[in-house]
Amino acid sequence: MKLFEPVNIGSLCLKNRVVRSAAFEGMADPGGVPGAKYEAHYAGLAEKGMGLIITGFAYVGLDGKAMQPGQAGIDNDRSIPLFSRVTGSVHKNDCAIFLQIAHAGRQTVRAACGGRPVAPSGKRSWYFRCRPSPLTSREIERIISGFAGAARRARDAGFDGVQLHCAHGYLVHQFISPSINNRKDAYGIDRELGIGGYFLECVINKIRDACGNAFPLAVKISGDSDWRPGLTKTQFVNLIKLLDIAGVDAIEVSCGTMEQALNIFRVPAIPWDTILAYNPRYRVNNKALRGFSKLLAGAVHVPSLKKFSPAYNLHLARVAKEHTTVPVISVGGFRTGTQLHDTVESGSADLTGLCRPFICEPDFLLKVKEDPSYKSRCVNCSRCAIMCDSGNATRCYRIRSSYGA
């Protein structure tokens, strides 16, 4: 396999094996409507040579809206013409685009989702400071239908497929996880598999019913999490097998949850200045107190932080590849052209996914085409991720100018 060779995701042929993995945009209005900035963002990216763009997560229902301001929504038909403009602009540049669809579950706040957050269980989220309302069966069925409706709208808006967000601690991940899901009904943990797969299966089946089997359906999963106990290797393999049997068209393997989001991104040094100025959970308006807060939060978080290393989730993709023939996308820590080429050529993953390198250099892949060993300018500071909570559209903050931290 070669990086710049075509690859199929279900019925869809991509021109190469580089994916712009989902990255939050912060470019929709408070009603989740994607406007001109959102469209221009994706139109611009589509010129930059990647085979597939996966949008930032769009909520499937208001009760699943995330905390970050500016999240797009695909929860009603009025958004179809607006998303159609986005897909039309992207397709002009021979690039495919999937809409990532998600429900935040307990990883949100009342102000965003309009009430008490919901989850498979009432287990408290430490980071989001909420004790969610456990979902009833009827509520679960409504959310499953919400996912199917969102996928149908995405198809009608011209998206080439959808990616179901089952990673990073959001609702589907909450159902999968034995440390969160303590239900005793069919949506609980399967004794044989050791994970809660029934909700996921229901969502996949309902999307297939709504959109047909030919409409590409990808999933994003976390191969490990910050919740304890996390997934064992056996449970992770069982999840891959479940997805294989369910017939999804691609599996993107990430890791972590928003409970300890820096473990999703991996940072060389915690950007405390940005966190204490902008993160709604840690914001300290009094600059004099920030030093104390830094010490306190550091004592809690630093011991559990995972360090950045190149292609840091690739070992999980390799495990997935051993148990499925479905194309596997590895995301996390690709910073050089060499890493991209090696990953695909060695068969460690079928596709490579990147977010942050495309935030600071949308033309990163064009540079890799010219120079196969090109190194990204992204230094993994992850201020772009932290600033998702600020209400500003996502961009690179590597060089601090006047953003006010």
């Binding site: 600071c360 949308p362 961009r395 690179c396 060089i399 100018s401 006047s402 953003y403």
Partner: protein, 79 residues
């Protein structure tokens, strides 16, 4: 601070390598500006002047002086 000084300060603050920046600084020859540097400067200007700059407009500039003129004429910055 005059607009010229403000723009020079923003450009200088957003360069990876610190070099003296003046009105006549050429963005390609002197600064070797690439897509990353361009994005950093656009971000810095947007923050400094509370405006939203169209990337297409920036493609036409070649010097710091051009940026200043673009901000004056197209974005009505600095009176």
């Amino acid at each position: 601070m005059a607009l010229d000084e403000q723009v020079c300060a923003v450009v200088s603050a957003n360069l990876e390598k610190k070099i003296p920046v003046g009105r006549n600084t050429d963005l390609r020859k002197d600064v070797h500006l690439d897509s990353f540097g361009t994005m950093m400067i656009i971000n810095g200007l947007e923050d400094a002047f509370s405006i939203s700059i169209d990337d297409q407009d920036f493609r036409a500039v070649s010097s710091v002086g051009d940026i200043i003129e673009m901000l004056r004429t197209k974005y009505h910055v600095g009176g």
